[in-house]
Amino acid sequence: MKSYALVGNPNSGKTTLFNALTGLRQKTANYPGVTVEKRTGRVNLPPVTSDSSRTSAVDTSSPEIQIIDLPGTYSLFWRSPDERLAVDVISGHLDDTPQPEAIVVVVDASNLQRNLYLLTQLIETGRPLVVALTMTDIAERHGHRVDVGALSMALGVPVVPVQGHRNASQRDHGIEQLKRALADARSAIEPDWPLPEPMRLAVSDLAPLVEPCASRACLTPRALAERLLIQGTTDLSRSIVPDLDPTIRDRVEKLRANLIAAGIEPMKEDIEAHYRFIETLASRVLIPTVDLRVRGRPQSLSPREQPATASPASPASLPSTDLRSDRGTLPVSNPSPPDRSIHRSPHRSPTFSERLDKLLLHRVFGLAVFLAVMSCLFISLFYLAAPLQDATEGIVSSLGESVSTILPEGVLKDLWIDGIVAGVGGVLVFVPQIALLFLLLAVLEDSGYLARAAFLMDRLLSAVGLSGKAFVPLLSGFACAIPGIMATRTMESSRDRLRTIFVLPFMSCAARLPVYTLLIGAFFSTYSAFAQGALMLSLYLLGIIAAFVTAWVWKSRSREASSSFMLELPTYKLPRASNVLRVVGRSTGAFIAKAGTIIFALSVILWAMTYWPRLPEQKSAEVAQASRSIWTEAVAAASTGATAEEPDEIVVHGVTTEEELIEKELASAQLRNSIAGRLGRAVEPVIAPLGFDWKMGVGLVGAFAAREVFVSTMGIVYAQGDEENTEPLAAAMLADRYPDGSPVWTPLIAINLLIWFVIAMQCISTVAIVKRETNTWRWPILQLLYMNALAWVLCFVVFQVGSRMF
C-alpha cells in the first residue's frame, strides 16, 4: 500500500487534516507539538481519471492508501525527539516505517513565510510533494489571500486549499480535491537559491561529484552539496553519506575553507537564501484582501472564482497566463529587493489574538486570569462532577443489586458483589470526574491558551530547573502521568526533559482522585465544603511542591548552563466541539477500558485472594465462641455500670447486636487468614511506623498495579462477609476497630495515607513508560526508589509527630 506522510510546522493543522482525511478519531489541540507520535490511517482515493494518471509521478493503481500523521517540525534539522521522529520517517531511516511515497506538506496560510521554510527544505529532499494550504480563513481575516495557482506554478507541485475542521454539512472543503491531488504528487522544481556567488559556484562544483550518494541521503545533489559545505565532513554529515569518497571529502573541506576564509558562513547563507526566496515568493502569491492596492498583478479573481485546486499539470486551471513566466525565473533573476510589505506593514491593525493577548499576557491581569483559569479548572472538577458522580453511583449500585437477586447463593454471588461490583463499580464512579478533567484540558489546549500559560510560567519553572515547555506536560500529569511524559518529547533539552519526566508523577493524577475523594469524604465530611476543598487543594499543592523541590535540588546540585526556550504563540482559535469531544471520548474510553480490563482482572484476583483459603470450621467456631464471650462481658459491664438510669445501647466494636458482632469477627478472621491478609500482614512491619494497619497494606499492595485499585481493594476488604453490601465503604472503614477497641482509622491516619498517595510512585504503567521514554531502566528505578522513600519518610515524620501531639 502506498503511504503518504503529513508534514508541517507544529500547530499548522496536520492532525485536523488527518482526521478529515481518514475519519480516524484522534487527538489534536492548539498547542505546538501535540502529536508526539506518528499515527496512521487509511484513505480510499477517488477513482483515478485518465488525465491525471497519465501525468502522474506516482503509481495510483491501488485506490487505498495509508496516511501517516507526523509530529510537527520547524526544520529538518531536528532539535527534539518528536521532531526527530518526523525527520526519520521522511528520510526513511525508521525500520518499522517504509519511506513514504510522497509528502503532503501542510502549510499554514496565515503564517506563510515560516511555513514555507520547511517546504523549501522538503523541496531539497527531492521527494514528491503535494501542498495542503490550511487556515486560509484566518489568513483572510489577517488581510491576505494566497494565490493558489501562482504558488503551485512557482513550486511545480499541486497546491490545495483545505478546511480540515469544517465537517458534516460542509464536508467537501478541499478534502476530496486533496485526495485527487495525491496522485499528482511530484518533486518540486528546485529553485536556484539566491546564494552568494562563491557559494553558488562551490555548490555547482560539488553537486555532480556527490550525485551518486544523493538519493541515499534523501537529498537532491545540490542540497547534499550544500549540506556538506555547511557541516563539513564531520561525524554529523558522515551519518548521511557514510561512503563519501576521500577525494570528494578533501574537495569539500577545501571549498568550505575557502568560503569561510572569504567571510561566508555556509549555514547562515543557506538559511538566508531560503528566506530570500520565500520573501520573493510570498510577495507574489499573497494578495492583500483589505489593502486595496494590488502590487503590479492582475487581481481578476475573487475567492469564489479561484480554482479550488491548482495543479501545475493542468495549466488551464491557472488564473492568468502571465503567471507562467514566474516559473523558473522566480528565484534569482529578481535582483530588486523583495517586497517585504507582508511582514513590515507598520500600521497594521492588531489582530484579535494580539488584542486578547494584551489582556491575557498582561503582567497583572494575565497572572490573575491564569490563576483564575487554573482555580476554575480544579473547582469545577469537584463541584460539577459531584451530581454526575452520585448518578453513576446510583446506577452502579442498583445494577449490582438487581443482578445479585438473580444469582444463587455461593461463590459466584460473592464474586459478583464483593469482587466485581465493589471493585470495578467503585472505580467507574469516578468516570465523570475524569471525563471532566480531560474535557477542560482539551478546551484549554484547543483554544491556544496553554502556549500562553507556558509563556507566563517559564520564568518560575526555569527557576526550579524546569522550563515553560514543561508546563503542558505537567498539567497533563494531573490527568495522567503517561500522556504527560509523552508530551515531554517536544522539549529540546534532554536534561530539562529528563527532569520533567522524573518529577511529573508527583502531579496528582486522575487515578489518585478516587482515593482522595474517598478518604476526605469519609473522615472530613463533618467539615465545611470549603475546608474539604482546601484539603484537596493542599494535596495537589503538596505534589507540586515535592516536584519543584526535587527539580530544584537536582538543578542546584549539577552546575549547568540554563537551556534555551523558544515557543510559538499560535493564533487563538475557538475550541471545536467535535474536536474536544473526540479527545474526551478517547481518554474516557481508555479509562473505562482500563476499568473493564486491568481493574476488572485485579478486582477478581484480589477478591479471590481475600476469599481463599477459607477459614477452617474449627477455627470459625473458636472465633464465634470468643465473640460471644466478648458480648456477654459487655452486657454484664453495661448492666453493672448503668443500674439506675435507662440501659444504654450496647455498642461493641461498632455493632449493636450479638449476631452482627459474630459475623463481623468471623469476616475479619477470614480476611486475616486469606492470602491477601497474609500479604498485608507481611508488609505490616514496614508500614506500621506510618500508622497503617495490614488492611491498608493490602490496599497499598493492590495500588501498585494502579492507584485507583486502592478504592476497590478497600471495597472488597470491607465488603467481605457483609452479604447485603448495604454499608457504604466510608462508614465501614470508620466502624473498623483494632482488637483493643481503638479505631483503625483516625483523621491522622487518613491524612498520612493521603500524603502517601500524593508522593509515592505506585503505578506500573508509569514505570514502563519512563523506561520507554528514557531508554534505560536507570531512571524508572531511581524514580521508584526516590518517590517511595520520600513518601515513607514524610509519612513517618507526620505520624510520629502527629500521634504524640494529639
Binding site: Y74, Q113, H343, F455
Partner: protein, 118 residues
C-alpha cells in the same frame, strides 16, 4: 561598555535611542552605536536583524540554538518587534514575519538588531 565604543558617532546621532545597555556581547562583538541586542530593544520597538551571535563561543557550526533562531526567520534584514515581556521579565514575546514567538532573554541576547525609529 558603551563609553569605550571606538567608532560611528554619526550613527549614534542618527538613531534617536541607542542601546542603553544590558547588552552583554563578547569583547570582539562589542556593541556598536545604533545597534543592540534583542533583549534590550525595548517593548513595542522594532529592529532589523543584523546577525545572530553564537551562544557557545567555540563550536559555532554545531550551535543548534543559533541555527533554529535563523530557521524561525531571524535572518539578516528581518524586522522584528518586541511585543512584551512576560510578567516575570523573562521570556519575551516578539513578532516577526507575521507570527509571534517567545524566547528567553538568554537567546534574545544572541540576536543583534539595528533599532528602527518608530
Amino acid at each position: 561598555m558603551s563609553s569605550s565604543l571606538p567608532q560611528a558617532p554619526h550613527l549614534a546621532a542618527q538613531d534617536p535611542k541607542p542601546c542603553e545597555h544590558g547588552c552583554q556581547l563578547p569583547e570582539d562583538l562589542a556593541c556598536h552605536a545604533g545597534t543592540c541586542t534583542l533583549d534590550c530593544l525595548g517593548i513595542g520597538r522594532t529592529g532589523s536583524v543584523l546577525d545572530i551571535i553564537s551562544s557557545q563561543p567555540d563550536a559555532s557550526s554545531n550551535d543548534d540554538v543559533r541555527r533554529r533562531l535563523m530557521e524561525m526567520g531571524l535572518c539578516n534584514g528581518t524586522e522584528v518587534t518586541v511585543v512584551r515581556k512576560s510578567p516575570f521579565g523573562d521570556p519575551i514575546e516578539i513578532r516577526l514575519r507575521g507570527y509571534h514567538l517567545s524566547l528567553r532573554n538568554q537567546q534574545a541576547r544572541c540576536v543583534r538588531v539595528r533599532p528602527i525609529s518608530a
